[in-house]
């Protein structure tokens, strides 16, 4: 049960990353590898500030803002200096590795002994069971603190998802969606498409930085390597989500990304439990995303000749 709770909590935290990847990859149509650096940057900034005694809420927010700044830099490189999108991301990601080491001063900062965001859940925990006894969920004992953290993460992700949904229905948000969908049309209607890409990447990396800051606090340390493979991880969540909800409509797609992240984390936890070598995890994740990207095309190829035959 504790394994399940832990997997769900990490799944929720990384759902923020998944929503961020959904925003850059699907809404802006931009494969943005900056997230690998900005996730770590968010964790590094938050951890450093926490150790310095800054209240967790501000430290977390600062991590997210640092992430969005990294995204904006990628956007500026791409739109103002005409550097290929993928290359802009790679440049910023590579530079961030050094920045992250500078911010932390070393490669790893432990956070178990400092006050951090998980402590906010204690208030909720004492309200769930004033006696302090473990919670009974369907016959299983669950540590109240873990349950409270899970519920808080769920609440946070829900609030952020709803806010993003509403944001993308505003004039600015719609202009951002149009820019990714058809930049020529957007420009013809007076949208500064370069600026929209910068804002979209800033927003996407804000979420990535936030996910990094929260993940570091949940797992109890920030590490300079923690962003490695996170883009593919996010893509896996987005593609699973799309398979689950079977639509690209905005509200459902965001929900799908969250569900995809939860399901994917759960699958990984089960696979590890069944004896999967953790070293193989990234290979399997990459193979999984590859499959999710090419299977729909293959399926269509197999099906179409039969359907097209009468026309030929």
């Amino acid at each position: 049960m504790n394994l399940l709770i832990g997997a769900l909590t990490i799944g929720l935290v990384l759902a923020l990353l998944a929503i961020g990847v959904y925003i850059s990859f699907r809404i802006a149509d931009f494969a943005d590898i900056t997230v690998e650096g900005s996730l770590t940057l968010g964790a590094a900034v938050a951890a450093t500030l926490l150790v310095a005694g800054v209240p967790p809420i501000w430290a977390t927010l600062a991590g997210a803002v640092a992430g969005s700044a990294a995204g904006a830099v990628t956007g500026i490189l791409h739109t103002r200096f005409n550097i290929h999108g993928l290359l802009s991301g790679i440049l910023v990601m590579t530079a961030l590795y050094s920045v992250n080491l500078r911010v932390m001063g070393r490669s790893n900062i432990p956070l178990l002994s400092v006050r951090n965001a998980t402590d906010y859940a204690d208030g909720l925990a004492s309200r769930l069971t004033p006696s302090g006894r473990p919670l009974n969920v369907m016959g299983w004992d669950v540590a109240t603190r873990d349950a409270a953290i899970l519920l808080s993460a769920l609440g946070l992700v829900a609030i952020i998802a709803v806010m993003l949904y509403l944001f993308f229905r505003t004039s600015l948000g719609t202009a951002m969606r149009c820019t990714g969908d058809n930049p020529q049309m957007a420009r013809a209607l007076g949208v500064d498409t370069g600026l929209m890409i910068i804002i979209t990447l800033a927003l996407s990396n804000f979420l990535s930085g936030l996910a990094g800051a929260l993940l570091a606090q949940y797992q109890g340390f920030a590490d300079v390597q923690m962003g490695l493979g996170m883009l593919v991880w996010g893509l896996a969540s987005v593609t699973i989500g799309e398979t689950l909800v079977r639509t690209r409509r905005l509200g459902l797609a965001i929900t799908g990304a969250v569900m995809g992240s939860l399901l994917f984390r759960l699958l990984v936890a089960i696979a590890l439990r069944l004896g999967l070598d953790p070293n193989d995890l990234k290979l399997i994740t990459a193979a999984f995303v590859l499959g999710a990207l090419i299977l729909p095309g293959l399926a269509a190829k197999i099906r179409t000749p039969k359907r097209e035959a009468p026309h030929a």
Binding site: L172, T174, D181, N182, M185, A186, G190
Partner: protein, 270 residues
């Protein structure tokens, strides 16, 4: 209204692929004038429209529109003054978002976009009325993705979007060339309606001799990056398709003549 002076553009300068689609183009368009632009392939007519729309910066020359020197304005800023319909019906609309959201984008052409709702209720009613006027049966399903519509439907909607806020200048770049004849007729009918209703200043590129003869109050013919004929007033009204074909023949003969003439000059003088 629109003043183009000494406008020139060379692409791929200094390479084997060098093309000079605009060479010292001069054009003055009065307010409310509906100008047809014709010409052979590669004559520079689409490039002229793109230069006015701001798709690329010109090498030389000046473009001014409605009292603004827009030569250095980026494309999105010019959109405040210019409405556009493209040749490709898929270029003018965002396929992944709904009809009403596409229309909502058009209602704010050239304005600052903030955090207000993109789709206030009052707009939805107006959308239904004006989409209903297109008589394509789309008013009942404004929430469907625009990508699921046919090229003709999308082009009619693009025209509606380009003119939702009255543009100082309407640019139509062979906007019916990719449509089937019935859809093309419908879009041309809608084009005439909106241009005469709002008295729009218009530049329309076309390959159809029929459209060139029947539409507009002025016609320019381009060749080799220059305006070679400019027909207006009574002369435009009396223009027949055969006159235009004769002019195209003339251009063709000139082209055939050119290499021979050059050869003759070379022999005579060198």
């Amino acid at each position: 209204m629109l003043e183009i002076t000494h406008l020139s553009k060379t692409f791929h300068a200094g390479t084997r692929n060098e093309v000079r689609p605009l060479q010292d183009v001069q054009l003055n368009v009065e307010a409310g004038s509906f100008v047809i632009v014709i010409g052979t392939n590669g004559s520079g007519k689409s490039t002229l429209l793109n230069a006015v729309a701001g798709a690329f910066p010109p090498d030389a020359g000046r473009i001014s529109l409605a009292g603004h020197d827009i030569t250095r304005w980026p494309e999105h800023r010019r959109a405040r003054l210019i409405g556009r319909v493209f040749q490709n019906p898929f270029s003018g609309t965002a396929p992944g978002i709904s009809i009403e959201e596409n229309l909502a984008m058009a209602t704010q052409r050239g304005t600052r976009r903030g955090l207000g709702w993109a789709l206030p209720r009052s707009l939805c009613r107006e959308f239904q009325e004006r989409v209903g006027d297109l008589r394509m049966g789309l008013e009942g399903r404004l929430d469907t993705e625009i990508g699921s519509l046919s090229g003709g439907q999308r082009q009619a909607l693009t025209l509606l979007m380009a003119t939702w806020r009255r543009p100082e200048l309407l640019l139509l770049d062979e906007h019916t060339a990719a449509l089937d004849p019935r859809s093309a007729d419908n879009v041309i009918r809608l084009t005439q309606q909106v241009i005469s209703r709002d008295n729009l200043t218009t530049l329309m590129v076309t390959h159809s001799m029929q459209q060139a003869v029947h539409l507009g109050d002025r016609l320019i013919m381009m060749h080799g990056g220059r305006v070679i004929h400019d027909v207006q007033g009574a002369e435009k009204r009396n223009l027949r398709a055969n006159d235009l074909l004769a002019r195209f023949d003339e251009v063709r003969r000139m082209e055939e003549l050119d290499p021979n003439a050059a050869e003759m000059l070379r022999r005579t003088y060198i």
